[in-house]
């Protein structure tokens, strides 16, 4: 094991330029994937912010008593899909309408605005079918006169969300594949540069595992270093966008760690596959 580590580290010292180019190639391919991830993350956050505005409004029958309203609030809050429910009195509704539509403030009259419940749903419970189901159940209460939730808007939002998730997954797979191919080629070049060493190891009776180990360590180290560089580049890009264009979200520390580890795993895998091709060649034809 100690020899394998020594050989792996010696490879960096013997060919520093090639090693650095390898790390940078891995870094830039992971950086491209990181930028895509950043865009996907921010689109998801934006859609989530819009989704947070999905709400059901249940208008109450005139003259519903305070006790009945309190009971209704308790019943609706107990629905598993509901995250939050509040009562809007006719006076509050009037004040809000006057504030939101100031130019029509003189035409509003508290008498025409009924009391209502504002119901918000939990994340993951906001697709059109689920919203409709909750609205239907709320509508069965005798104190509820009418239920509205902007069906068209919810359906459009859900379609956009589905499209974004599908496109994100598809592009993510493509970006990941491109990263794997580039990283694999980079590691393969490093292995090719040391083909003679592999050949001599085999010649003197080194086992396959022994031959592979230094290359696996080297590949994993390059992948990890590339991952760290990619994380720094992505963070820098995010800072520039946040400061000069608009506020954006960045990955959580665990997501960044996962990205760096993924770099290491890709390096390891690339080395494993590349070195395997050389393990059979011993007696090169002159």
């Amino acid at each position: 094991m100690r020899l394998a580590w020594r050989e792996a580290l010696l490879a960096f010292r013997r060919a520093p330029l090639m090693s650095m180019l390898g790390v940078l190639t891995i870094a830039f391919s992971l950086f491209a994937f990181g930028l895509f991830g950043l865009v996907a993350l921010n689109i998801r956050d934006a859609l989530r912010a819009v989704e947070d505005r999905v709400e059901i409004r249940a208008f109450l029958v005139d003259g519903t008593s305070e006790d009945a309203i309190a009971a209704l609030l308790g019943d609706v809050a107990a629905f598993p899909e509901v995250s939050d429910v509040g009562y809007v009195s006719p006076d509050s509704a009037l004040a809000r309408s006057r504030e939101e539509l100031a130019e029509f403030s003189d035409v509003f009259d508290a008498a025409v605005l009924p009391g209502s419940l504002e119901i918000r749903l939990r994340e993951g419970q906001r697709d059109p079918a689920q919203v409709q189901a909750v609205a239907d159940r709320v509508g069965t209460f005798p104190a509820v006169d009418d239920v509205r939730f902007g069906r068209d808007w919810v359906e459009k939002l859900y379609r956009v969300r589905t499209l974004a998730v599908g496109a994100g997954l598809g592009l993510g797979v493509v970006f990941a594949l491109v990263a794997v191919i580039i990283i694999g080629s980079t590691i393969r070049m490093a292995v090719l540069a040391r083909a003679r060493e592999i050949e001599i190891m085999r010649l003197v009776g080194a086992t396959n595992g022994f031959v592979r180990l230094p290359f696996l360590i080297e590949g994993a180290l390059k992948g990890l270093l590339g991952g760290v560089c990619a994380a720094l580049l992505t963070w820098g890009a995010n800072r520039v966008i946040s400061q000069s264009l608009f506020e954006t979200s960045f990955f959580t520390p665990s997501q960044v760690t996962l990205g760096i580890v993924a770099g290491g795993v890709l390096g390891l895998l690339g080395s494993f596959l590349s070195v395997g091709r050389h393990l059979r060649a011993v007696w090169r034809d002159a």
Binding site: L3, R196, I200, N208
Partner: protein
């Protein structure tokens, strides 16, 4: 005497180029020195590939120091190679390591105890006449000296047999004499040597047994130097 190398009716065929060896049988005994000769394309390299288990025979059986091609698993091939020393025409040294490091490499990769490596490398370099050149880089050595390093590396794991594929092919006459003399000394200490060469005068001068291949078949197995004189 026990055969350290043995081929029983061995044939080797390649899908593209056809038959490389056809029905070849011979034995090399412990401590024997045998030459292998024949024109280019006669099957010498294929035979050496089979003996080092870089290739498997299409038919027949190859036996090396008790290991048989019929039953040897791929995972056990490194164990066979540790009983063989292999030397090539182009030396195959690691150009970015010193002479000592090149020889030590063979011991390190086979898991020799670290404490014993230094002393063994020094002994091997003394044996091949390069005791004072351990810290030199390969490019600082002559061709003959580089081949001596390759031989020291091949001897690192105390092989029963040394397979030498045209070891003097890149050397001048003086260096060739030195390498052959070194191989004789190694042979005298009990290591069998199978040396492939085009140099017929080398075989004739030695009086050793030789195997002559032509178009994949074993044309001659014996010590008659007069036959070779007629080829020249």
């Amino acid at each position: 005497m026990a055969g350290v190398l043995r081929l029983d009716a061995v044939s080797k065929e390649y899908p593209r180029t056809g038959t490389a060896l056809a029905d070849v049988s011979f034995t090399v005994d412990k401590g024997e020195f045998v030459f292998l000769t024949g024109p280019s394309g006669s099957g010498k390299s294929t035979l050496l590939k089979l003996l080092s288990f870089a290739e498997r025979p299409s038919r027949g059986e190859v036996k090396v120091s008790g290991f048989s091609s019929a039953s040897l698993r791929d995972a056990d091939i490194p164990q066979v190679r540790r009983r063989l020393g292999i030397v090539f025409q182009d030396f195959r040294l690691l150009p970015d390591r010193t002479v000592e490091a090149n020889v030590a490499f063979a011991l390190e990769v086979t898991g020799a105890p670290t404490a014993s490596i230094g002393a063994k490398v020094a002994r091997l370099l003394t044996q091949v006449g390069l005791a004072s050149r351990g810290s030199d880089m390969p490019h600082e050595l002559s061709g003959g000296e580089q081949q001596r390093v390759a031989i020291a590396r091949a001897l690192a794991n105390d092989p029963f047999v040394l397979l030498a594929d045209e070891p003097t092919g890149n050397l001048d006459e003086r260096a060739t004499r030195g390498i052959v003399q070194l191989l004789r000394e190694i042979n005298a200490q009990g290591t069998a040597v199978l040396m492939a060469t085009h140099d017929l005068s080398l075989i004739m001068r030695s009086g050793y047994r030789y195997l002559e291949l032509e178009r994949g078949t074993l044309l001659y197995d014996g010590t008659d130097a007069h036959r070779l004189a007629r080829h020249q």
